[in-house]
């Protein structure tokens, strides 16, 4: 048995020695540290003027530093309303009395119910808020993220940005390929959410979030971030009615709704986008100024 023990020790030791640099690579990647800003805020909390919730459209959408507003970005890619709500309950107390909560609405808002990567919430939310919570997964995520193939592949993709099929590049075929793939993804999500009755649950969760804001005295503004024309071609009025407005309109909400989705200042200018539905740093700055001025004109932040 001693022979087996020595063999196993050698194999495990060599495997660990090879694994450690990989683990380190993942730990330093953007995909693993996607919640960095929230984590930094948690360590150094301060009153903020504006909080934005939502998924990647919102995360890539706002940068209020030039406006002088203090801002907390609680949006994370593919974030569900459920986690929007949890994050707001955790960090909402830092909103200034006249502050604003931006609730971003996208094509996925009511049809997205699976938060695939709950690991990113381990350090920014209380464990009791995370579903499902597993102690093994928790320690694995914190100390051995290299064992999570999704995060590793994502880190590798970020490192080798150009390692894609030509047709998979963001702006291949003027962004039409990307928009088509995204449409297919959203349609699939829609089919699944409809089949599993998840849309009603999301709408209810959305209402609860707004009611919570009302109870806490938070000022809520709904927004829809700008997208490029190639994306708009797939998400015309009819598609948006089916995915979003047929659920949103009947709620008769008494909160402002700033819809910039087809704003021509952005939709015709590729320079403002990473891909056809996510703003880049330049687009983000311009858009945030527009939102800021619009909110000011509506009497917020006074």
């Amino acid at each position: 048995m001693g022979r087996l023990f020595i063999k196993l020790t050698i194999i495990i030791t060599v495997a660990l020695l090879l694994f450690l640099p990989i683990n380190n690579f993942v730990k330093q990647s953007r995909s693993y540290n996607i919640n960095d800003d929230i984590l930094a805020f948690k360590k150094d909390p301060h009153p903020v003027d504006i909080i934005n919730l939502g998924a990647s459209h919102s995360m890539y959408g706002y940068y209020f530093k030039p406006t002088g507003l203090s801002h907390l970005d609680l949006a994370l890619p593919a974030q569900t309303i459920q986690y929007d709500f949890k994050l707001l309950k955790e960090y909402g107390e830092h909103l200034k009395p006249n502050g604003v909560v931006i609730v971003s609405i996208s094509q996925l808002t009511f049809i997205n119910s699976k938060d695939m990567d709950v690991g990113r919430y381990y350090e920014i939310l209380d464990h009791s808020e995370i579903e499902p919570f597993s102690l093994v997964d928790y320690y694995r995520y914190l100390y051995f993220p290299g064992t999570n193939s999704e995060i590793f592949t994502s880190a590798l993709s970020s490192k080798w940005k150009g390692f894609k099929w030509t047709s998979h590049q963001s702006w291949a075929n003027d962004g039409k390929n990307y928009a088509e793939r995204k449409t297919e993804f959203i349609e699939e999500q829609y089919r699944e959410a409809s089949a599993n009755d998840e849309i009603e649950q999301n709408v209810q969760q959305f209402q609860e979030l707004l009611e919570y804001c009302k109870d806490q005295g938070y000022q809520v503004v709904l927004t829809m971030e700008p997208v490029h024309q190639t994306y708009l071609d797939h998400f015309d009025e009819q598609a948006m009615e089916r995915l979003v407005f047929q659920y949103l309109d009947p709620l008769n909400l008494d909160v402002p709704f700033l819809n910039y989705m087809d704003d021509p200042r952005f939709s015709d200018n590729q320079d403002y986008f990473i891909d056809s539905d996510h703003l880049n740093s330049e687009g983000r700055k311009k858009y945030s100024w527009i939102v800021y001025e619009e909110l000011k004109s509506m009497g917020y932040f006074e």
């Binding site: 060599v14 090879l18 998979h168």
Partner: protein, 483 residues
């Protein structure tokens, strides 16, 4: 707790340690407790159904043995099998029959009032029911004595490494192994660990990486013909990697406890005919069907047409066993047709091979047969993978359309992968094929590997461990776990 989890590995490590630490007379208690805990963690209160089926089979086995005449024995056996099949039928086929009757009634304008029932399928019920049936039939046939030790019998029914998805073992082979005192052997532990590691490799690096890719095509109503062709071929690879991984882990775990389970796969995608395929794919199930369905059906039959009917019935049962859906019935029917057609045209095909001089180059001839068999298997799997009969026919039509096979179309279809995912999958697929290649040249890759220099050997072990750790995708259940 599934096989592919840290929890299972820890659980199993504790069981192995305890197994060899306690006296032999108490080991059955440990294995039984482990098996029921494992099953309860997967299927909750259905553990009571397992307990009931076990107790029932135990009593029925003894009752069969106690009957004096063959006729009486047969009666008791048939009642026993009937009850076991009733459990299986109720949980697995109630809604299938109910939905089919409703559809027929609607077609005939009849009033049908039985609504859809929310029935959860207990995990492993198909597998342990088949083991129980073979146990009762073997006692009736006089091949086996009814087991009197309830503990050992219960382990045979619920042995946790093979409970979820086989191999479907015969009592004659498994029961005596539980009774023999297994000593701690280096060879068993070492071989078992390698098989488990290889199972993890196939499941997490091949099957689970392919599963979302295949699903993205099969769930897409606008998939192109070439995408269906590619996804179906990939599904065949996925299904093999998934199911054989399950068997590898089961065989590996059992071996670490000193128990030898039956091999369930022998590189089925290298079969040279459909008959050969069924000798290599899910072997314990194929032999079960042969011994308990096909052979009894052929009893007294001499005409070829009667044998063909028996073949078709056997494959229909195979299809129904797999899943309660008409698409599985059609899948079974297609394989039945393949077998009958293959047998009926054997001579003609031989003549054709001779006429085209194909038989003058045996190696090339063999590879042509392998390719044809693989494509036939792939075609049948369109029905296996599709969600409904309508979808299956649409996909089958796309699969058979010649333009779907245009090389440029197939190359374009590879874009269902991201380039990075394709590179990762391709690397591990090549590793798996190398493993198979060595296996085809030698009896066992592990034995071949043990004769290599230490550095090469350890490099392979480390590659497997690191690959599973870093690239291993998890989260997908086992396809056959659902049957």
């Amino acid at each position: 707790m599934t096989f592919i989890s840290i929890e299972f590995l820890l659980f199993f490590a504790v069981i192995v340690f305890a197994y060899y630490s306690i006296p032999h007379r108490w080991r059955w208690v440990l294995l039984l407790a482990a098996s029921y805990s494992f099953y309860a963690s997967l299927s909750g209160y259905f553990v009571f159904l397992l307990l009931t089926s076990t107790a029932f089979s135990y009593v029925t086995g003894i009752l069969i043995e106690k009957q004096e005449t063959k006729k009486q024995k047969k009666k008791v056996m048939l009642v026993g099998i009937g009850v076991l099949l009733f459990f299986l039928g109720w949980f697995k086929y109630f809604n299938f029959v109910n939905d089919s009757l409703r559809a027929i009634s609607a077609y005939l304008n009849w009033n049908y009032t039985i609504p859809y029932q929310e029935i959860i399928l207990p995990i492993a019920i198909s597998f342990y029911t088949f083991q129980a049936v073979s146990y009762l039939v073997d006692i009736y046939r006089g091949k086996l004595k009814a087991e009197r030790h309830y503990g050992y019998f219960s382990i045979y029914f619920a042995f946790f490494p093979q409970l979820v998805a086989g191999p479907i073992e015969r009592a004659k082979k498994l029961l005596p192994q539980f009774k023999v005192e297994q000593t701690l052997k280096y060879e068993n532990l070492s071989y078992g660990m390698k098989r488990i590691a290889w199972g993890f490799f196939k499941k997490t690096l091949i099957a689970d990486r392919l599963a979302p890719i295949v699903a993205s095509v099969y769930d897409n109503p606008d998939a192109t013909g070439s995408q269906i062709v590619l996804a179906t071929i990939l599904f065949s690879v996925q299904l093999y990697a998934d199911f054989s991984a399950l068997s590898d882990i089961a065989i590996g775990c059992a071996r670490m406890l000193g128990i030898k389970l039956t091999e369930n796969f022998k590189q089925p995608h290298f079969a040279t005919s459909i008959g050969d395929f069924w000798n290599r794919w899910h072997i314990t199930f194929s032999t079960w069907l042969r011994d308990y369905i096909f052979v009894p059906l052929c009893k007294g039959k001499k005409k070829r047409s009667e044998i063909y009917v028996a073949i078709i019935i056997t494959f229909l049962i195979s299809g129904i066993w797999h899943g309660a859906a008409w698409s599985f019935v059609l899948w079974g029917l297609i394989h039945g047709f393949y077998r009958v057609f293959g047998d009926h045209t054997k001579q003609a095909r031989g003549k054709m091979a001779s006429f085209t001089y194909l038989d003058r180059n045996p190696t090339f001839h063999k590879w042509v047969k392998i390719a044809i068999t693989f494509l036939l298997v792939c075609f049948s799997r369109v029905f296996f993978r599709s969600d409904s009969v309508t979808a299956a026919f649409t996909n089958a039509q796309l699969f058979l359309t010649p333009s779907s096979w245009r090389p440029s179309g197939i190359i374009d279809a590879f874009e269902i992968f991201s380039l990075l995912d394709l590179a990762i999958f391709a690397f591990f697929f090549v590793v798996m094929q190398l493993f198979h290649h060595v296996e085809r040249k030698n009896a066992s890759t592990w034995n071949w590997l043990s004769q290599r220099p230490v550095f090469a050997r350890y490099a392979v072990y480390v590659l497997i461990v690191v690959s599973v750790l870093v690239f291993g995708a998890t989260g997908q259940g086992f396809v056959y776990g659902g049957f």
